[in-house]
């Protein structure tokens, strides 16, 4: 008998004569206290994100590339990791080409093993899309893809995320339900709520523990 068989046999033996507990899932408790009027939804998301040192800006589909450029310029960052294979990556590239900004765009085009050193030590910022947001907790939803792999939102010290206002949901339950998560999860799904932080030294909060030191969320109000 394998360890699996022995463990399962023990557990089964302990359940003889019992009936499973019924599923009386109370979705109302996870949604009703966490509902927001259309006008308040984005405000809630912003205030939650800002409370944990996330930065947010309201912008539009047309204007966000300029905002991103300004944010990078303000930090003296001359290079950005962004996918050329996404619509937003292409829009940004076009904007950069048309502008006088000397921003260099680079792509995550090869497996991480091939360029770890550069990714970890010579990539100051990244820009990715999101699959939506959650107002209740101020969270971004990311399902990394071949175009925008997992480490894009983790390794560079500044992460800029694009969030469409129409894709902000009130709470995790509604989001999970609307996006049919249970019918198929990607290899990696993430909720990101602010820049990386720790309070492991005498409960004193410090940002930029292992992940991004800064998270800038550009909220596209007309998208």
């Amino acid at each position: 008998m394998s360890a699996k068989d022995r463990i399962l046999a023990k557990l089964r033996g302990s359940l003889v004569g019992t009936t499973p507990v019924a599923d009386d899932y109370d979705a109302g408790l996870l949604t009703e206290p966490w509902r927001y009027a259309a006008d308040d939804r984005i405000a809630r998301l912003r205030s939650m994100l800002e409370a944990v040192h996330g930065e947010t800006q309201l912008t539009t589909q047309a204007d966000w590339p300029q905002r991103a450029l300004e944010a990078l310029a303000a930090r003296n960052i001359g290079e950005l990791l962004v996918s050329p294979d996404t619509a937003h990556g292409q829009q940004l590239a076009a904007h950069v080409a048309a502008s006088a900004a000397g921003l260099r765009l680079k792509a995550y085009h090869q497996p991480v093993e091939a360029w770890k050193e550069e990714l970890f030590f010579r990539t100051p910022a990244s820009l990715t899309g999101t699959l939506g947001g959650i107002a209740a907790t101020g969270s971004l939803v990311l399902w990394p893809t071949p175009q925008e792999p997992r480490l894009m939102s983790l390794v560079p010290p500044l992460h800029i995320a694009l969030l469409k206002a129409s894709e902000v949901r009130d709470n995790l339950y509604e989001l999970m339900h609307a996006q049919h998560w249970a019918s198929g999860m990607p290899t990696n799904a993430l909720l990101v709520s602010g820049p990386s932080k720790t309070a492991d030294i005498q409960q004193t909060l410090a940002y930029g523990a292992h992940g991004p030191k800064e998270l800038l969320v550009l909220i596209l109000e007309d998208a």
């Binding site: 399962l8 302990s14 983790l154 999860m185 523990a209």
Partner: protein, 479 residues
Amino acid sequence: MSAMTDVPAVPIAFKRNAREALADPQLRRNFRGAMDFLMDKRRVQFPDGDELERLRAFGNRVRARALSKLPELLERLDANLSRNGVKVHWAETVEEANAIVHRIVEQHAAKKVIKGKSMVSEEMEMNHYLGERGVDCLESDMGEFIVQLREEKPSHIIMPAIHLNVGQVASLFHDKLEVDYTEDVDRLIQIGRETLRRNFFEADIGVSGVNFAVAETGTLLLVENEGNGRMSTTVPPVHIAVTGIEKVVENLRDVIPLLSLLTRSATGQAITTYVNMISGPRKADELDGPQEVHLVLLDNGRSQAFADGELRQTLNCIRCGACMNHCPVYTRIGGHAYGTVYPGPIGKIVTPHMLGLDTTRDLPTASSMCGACGEVCPVKIPIPALLRRLREEAVRAPEAVPHHMRGQGSKYSKKEAMLWKAWRKLNTSPALYRAFSFAGTRLSALMPSNIGPWTEHRSAPKPAARSLHELAREHLGED
């Protein structure tokens, strides 16, 4: 297991540890401050007492439901993870779990392991086991990293270095990392970040724990704030997750109430910075993520707790640490005094199943039964009731059957059992009780002013001149 039961267990020197901790004013201050901080943070997260109570009941039902079909859910989890490409391993003991991990290490000729935070790996003493076999394990959670540098164990399951203040960490970094002494926490964290950064991509294997394992989708959910968990589970070519068999939940949506309870109860956060859901290794067209993902499911005494309907509730635990944050005993002695991986109230009820009641003999009695732990537990584990039950098992007479707990009856003493028999006679025989209280009140002057441990901190209690029985009889007549 069978070989171990022949060797008499050495009880943890809890009382000695506690005495030493109580005599350390720095430690006392550090814990008092930290616990006050965490209690306040939690309280702010639950402004609506009604919502809290409903959510706790909900969390309890979700956990109870998962446990009520645990074998079925574990099989479903195994099947779905396997379908997703995750290799699932099962271990009855920590020795088996370590051997599994070591086998994977050998297959990859791995020399270096980077670890996210995992209490189950502490349970396994994985660092020590692999270290003895020439494999370096480096902790990457800031608190764990600090504790590892000090060659200590975590003193809290959520905040491992909570027993230290900033000055102590500053000295540690100055001594061990050869950096300038600074008490600037931002600077100290940056030193930790810089020290650990290269290790993430030099490591051959990343090890993590699991907060919830979802049977429905074959998903491992991990919460964290630092990003080291994501690093450890994404950058190295191999990821090994280790977890207890109780961590499974039925459906993906079941994690929603548990996640809310966990982060709000643990650190008073609406949500952690990262909720990392892993459902498989890197796919052919993906550019990062581990090529191999393993899950080790560990029993280590959990099935013993599971065997009893009451004790099974121990396994509801979602490891938030709120019970320790609110425990007046933990607050005063800190985590190390318990001498166990899991300290505080939850440690007192879970560890006896892992190590035996003989080894942990003092733990269930180290509680005033004040009930603070049970009151805050987000999944409503009746911790005081379970402590009482473990006390009962510990003093059970050797001839009493059945024996279903390791170390059962290890606190049985004929003398103490006789004393309680006498107590029973006294309290069920009115004549005897009357004679006793008459003697107690009339002879109170003879009562010694030093009655052992009680009088070290208090004066001896003095019986009144006449008992309430007498006064009431005089006032109300014989009833």
